[in-house]
C-alpha cells in the first residue's frame, strides 16, 4: 500500500508539475466533470497510467487520497517524521497550496501497545508533528486542526506488528473546501 501510494503520488506530482511554490490554483484544477481537457503533462500521464488519473477530479477527496497520500506512519513510540513521511507531507503541502480553501484535520493515532492516556498524549504529539511540518512548508496554521485519538481508532484490527505499524499514523483528513 505504501509503495503503491508512492508511485501514484509521484505520477500525480508529474501531472501537476509539483509546483509547491505556485501560489494560485491554475484553471485546470477547478472542479470539472471527468474527461475535461487535460493539460499537456496530464495527457502524458493518462497515456502511461489511465486508470489512476482519468476519473479523479482534481481537488477532490479522492485526488488527495489517491494522488497525494493522506497518512504518514510513525516508528514505535516515536513522533519523528522520516524522509518518506516528509515526502508525503511535501505533496500534501503542495496540494494544499493549490487549493487554498481546503481545511484539514490531522489526527494522531497510536497502536494498542500502550496505555490509553499516554497514547492520547502521544497521538497529539504525532498530529502536532505533522501540522508543524506542513506549516513549515507554508501551509497556514489556521487551516490545520489537530486531534488525537490515541489507540481508540485503529486502522487495522489485528494484534500484530503489521497492524500496529499501520495504526501508528498521522492522518490528514480534508474537512472542507474540497471539490466533489
Amino acid at each position: 500500500m505504501h509503495t503503491f501510494l508512492k508511485v501514484t503520488a509521484a505520477a500525480a506530482l508529474l501531472a501537476t508539475g509539483a509546483c509547491a511554490s505556485q501560489p494560485d490554483p491554475v484553471k485546470d484544477t477547478t472542479p470539472v466533470v471527468e474527461n475535461t481537457t487535460p493539460v499537456e503533462e496530464k495527457t502524458e500521464v493518462v497515456k502511461t497510467d489511465p486508470v489512476v488519473t482519468s476519473s479523479i477530479a482534481p481537488g477532490s477527496l479522492e485526488d488527495f487520497r489517491v494522488n497525494v497520500g493522506e497518512r504518514v506512519y510513525f516508528d514505535l513510540d516515536q513522533y519523528r517524521l522520516d524522509t518518506e513521511d516528509q515526502e508525503i507531507l511535501k505533496r500534501q503541502a503542495a496540494w494544499l497550496a493549490s487549493y487554498p480553501n481546503i481545511r484539514i484535520l490531522v489526527a494522531g493515532n497510536a497502536d494498542e501497545r500502550g496505555t490509553r492516556e499516554y497514547n492520547l498524549a502521544l497521538g497529539e504529539r504525532r498530529a502536532n508533528a505533522v501540522k508543524e511540518y506542513l506549516v513549515s512548508l507554508g501551509v497556514s496554521a489556521s487551516r490545520v486542526d489537530t486531534v488525537s485519538y490515541g489507540k481508540e481508532r485503529p486502522l487495522a484490527a489485528g494484534s500484530d506488528d503489521q497492524s500496529w505499524a499501520l495504526n501508528r499514523n498521522g492522518w490528514t483528513q480534508i474537512v472542507s473546501g474540497a471539490t466533489s
Binding site: 496505555t115 504529539r125 481508540e152
Partner: protein, 455 residues
C-alpha cells in the same frame, strides 16, 4: 477458637497494646486476617433469614447477595446450608455452638426479615463467634437493623455484608459501592464507547451516555454523585463532569488544547487533568468552584495520568521525561522534594525497574501506588511504595491496564484483554495478588473506576 485464630489474636493484641496502650478486651474474638501468606479462607455460615410476613423470596435474595459479597473477597468459605445441623435458629437466642463446631463454622450470621406496615422492609442480624462462644458486637451494638424500600433491597444486603466484613477483618467496608466503566460494542475499528455504571457486584447495569460520542476514563468524585471523564463530544476531546442524579453533562475548564486523564482530588474540590497543546502534554489542577486552573507541570515531555495523595500534598503522574514512561511524584505546591534516589527535585522518579510504567493511582490509604507496567510484550498491574520500594506485580496478561482502588484500598479493579485480539473485560484482584476475578458486564468493558462508599 482455632489455634490459627488464637495466634492471630495474640499477635494483634500484642501489637494493639504496644502501639496504643490499650487494655486487652476480656475475651478472645474471631478475627480474619487479610494479609497472611499461607492463606485459608475462614468458614462462615449465613443461613437464610427468618421471615415474618409474606416476601420470603426477597429475604432469600438478600441473604444470597450477602453470601456472594463475602465469598467474592476470597477470605471466607461460605458453608453449604445443607450441612447445617441446627435448623431452629432464633435471633433472640444463642446458637448451639457445638452444632456449628461440628461443621467447623467459625462465624455465624443469624438474621430476620420483615415487611412493615408502611411497605418498607427491615433486616436485623447478629454475628456469632462460634469458637469464642459469644456474640460479636457491631459498632458496639449487639446486632444491627437496616430498613429500606423493597426496591433498595440490594443495598441492605451490601450493608450487611460490609458490617460483617469490617467486623471480622478490621478493614473498612466496600460492598455498598458502584463501579463506573466504559461499555464497548462494535468492531475494533469502529468501537462505540458509552459510560456505564453498575453496583460493585455487577448488578443494576445501566448506560449513562448514548454512544454518539466516544467517552473514556470515567472517575468518581468523593461524593459518588459526579463522574469526571473525557468525551469526543463535538469532535473535540475534552474533560467533562457528569451528574449521575440529573444526567447533566458539563464541559470542564476553558482550555485551548485537548484535555484528558481527569481525576478528582480527594477533597472533591478540584479535578486534576492533562492538557495537550502544540505537541506537549502537561498537568493542570482545576478548582471546581472558582473554575480557575493552575499549571502543575511545565516540561516538554508528556506529563499525564495525575493522581493525588489522600492528604492532598502530593501528586503522582506519568512522564516520559527520562526517555520512557515512568512514574514521578511532585508536591502539589510545586516545591522541591527529597527524592528517594537521592537529591531533591520538583518531580522525583519512583520507578526504576525494567519496562514502562503508567496510569499511577494513589491508594486511599496513602502508602501505595497502583500502576500499569509494560514489559517484554506483556502488561501488568502492580503496586509500589511511594518511596519507590517494594514493587509487586499482581496480574499479567496481553493487556492489563488502568487499575483503580476499592475505597478501602484492599481490592484493585482493572481491565484486561487476555490474548491478542481478545475483548476487554473487567477484573478485580486482592492487594495480596490473590483472588483474581472477572466482573461480568453485559458488553465488553474497560476503564473501571470504583465509587466511594455510598451514603
Amino acid at each position: 477458637m482455632t489455634h490459627r485464630a488464637m495466634l492471630y489474636l495474640r499477635r494483634f493484641l500484642a501489637a494493639a497494646v504496644i502501639a496504643l496502650g490499650l487494655v486487652a478486651p476480656a475475651s478472645a474474638q474471631l478475627r480474619v486476617r487479610v494479609d497472611e501468606g499461607n492463606f485459608q479462607p475462614t468458614p462462615i455460615a449465613i443461613p437464610d433469614f427468618q421471615v415474618t410476613g409474606a416476601n420470603a423470596d426477597l429475604a432469600k435474595q438478600i441473604a444470597e447477595v450477602v453470601r456472594a459479597d463475602l465469598a467474592s473477597t476470597g477470605l471466607f468459605d461460605l458453608q453449604n446450608p445443607a450441612s447445617f445441623i441446627q435448623r431452629d435458629l432464633s435471633i433472640n437466642a444463642e446458637p448451639r455452638f457445638a452444632d456449628w463446631k461440628i461443621i467447623r463454622t467459625e462465624g455465624l450470621v443469624v438474621g430476620t426479615f420483615e415487611e412493615m406496615a408502611d411497605g418498607k422492609v427491615a433486616v436485623s442480624f447478629r454475628l456469632w463467634d462460634i469458637y469464642g462462644g459469644e456474640l460479636m458486637r457491631i459498632n458496639g451494638e449487639p446486632g444491627r437493623r437496616l430498613t429500606t424500600t423493597p426496591e433498595n433491597w440490594r443495598r441492605i444486603a451490601h450493608k450487611i455484608a460490609d458490617s460483617i466484613y469490617t467486623r471480622l477483618t478490621g478493614e473498612d467496608p466496600y460492598f455498598d459501592t458502584r463501579i463506573v466503566y466504559i461499555a464497548e460494542t462494535g468492531p475494533k475499528t469502529a468501537r462505540v464507547k458509552r459510560l456505564a455504571i453498575m453496583d460493585s457486584d455487577g448488578a443494576n447495569q445501566q448506560y449513562l451516555t448514548s454512544g454518539r460520542s466516544t467517552v473514556l476514563t470515567p472517575r468518581f468524585s468523593p461524593s459518588a454523585q459526579e463522574i469526571t471523564y473525557m468525551s469526543y463530544e463535538g469532535g473535540k476531546p475534552r474533560v467533562y463532569l457528569f451528574n449521575i442524579e440529573t444526567g447533566r453533562q458539563e464541559l470542564l475548564g476553558n482550555f485551548p488544547g485537548m484535555t484528558f486523564s481527569p481525576r478528582f482530588t480527594r477533597d472533591g474540590q478540584s479535578v486534576l487533568l492533562s492538557q495537550a497543546q502544540r505537541g506537549n502534554t502537561d498537568i493542570y489542577i482545576l478548582n471546581l468552584r472558582t473554575r480557575e486552573s493552575d499549571r502543575l507541570t511545565d516540561h516538554p515531555s508528556i506529563d499525564t495520568s495525575p493522581s493525588m495523595s489522600p492528604d492532598g500534598k502530593s501528586v503522582v503522574f506519568n512522564s516520559d521525561r527520562g526517555g520512557t514512561p515512568q512514574l514521578y511524584i511532585m508536591n502539589t505546591d510545586k516545591s522541591k522534594r527529597t527524592c528517594p534516589g537521592g537529591g531533591s527535585d520538583v518531580a522525583c522518579r519512583i520507578t526504576f525497574g525494567k519496562g514502562r510504567y503508567s496510569t499511577p493511582v494513589w491508594s486511599p490509604r496513602g502508602d501505595l501506588i497502583a500502576f500499569t507496567k509494560q514489559e517484554g510484550g506483556k502488561f501488568y498491574v502492580g503496586v509500589i511504595g511511594i518511596d519507590g520500594k517494594g514493587e509487586r506485580l499482581l496480574t499479567e496478561a496481553y493487556l492489563d491496564e488502568g487499575p483503580d482502588w476499592s475505597p478501602n484500598g484492599r481490592v484493585i479493579v482493572y481491565f484486561r484483554e487476555a490474548r491478542p485480539g481478545a475483548s476487554p473485560q473487567l477484573f478485580s484482584v486482592d492487594l495480596s495478588g490473590r483472588n483474581e476475578r472477572r466482573l461480568v458486564t453485559q458488553t465488553d468493558a474497560s476503564d473501571p473506576a470504583w465509587s466511594p462508599l455510598l451514603q
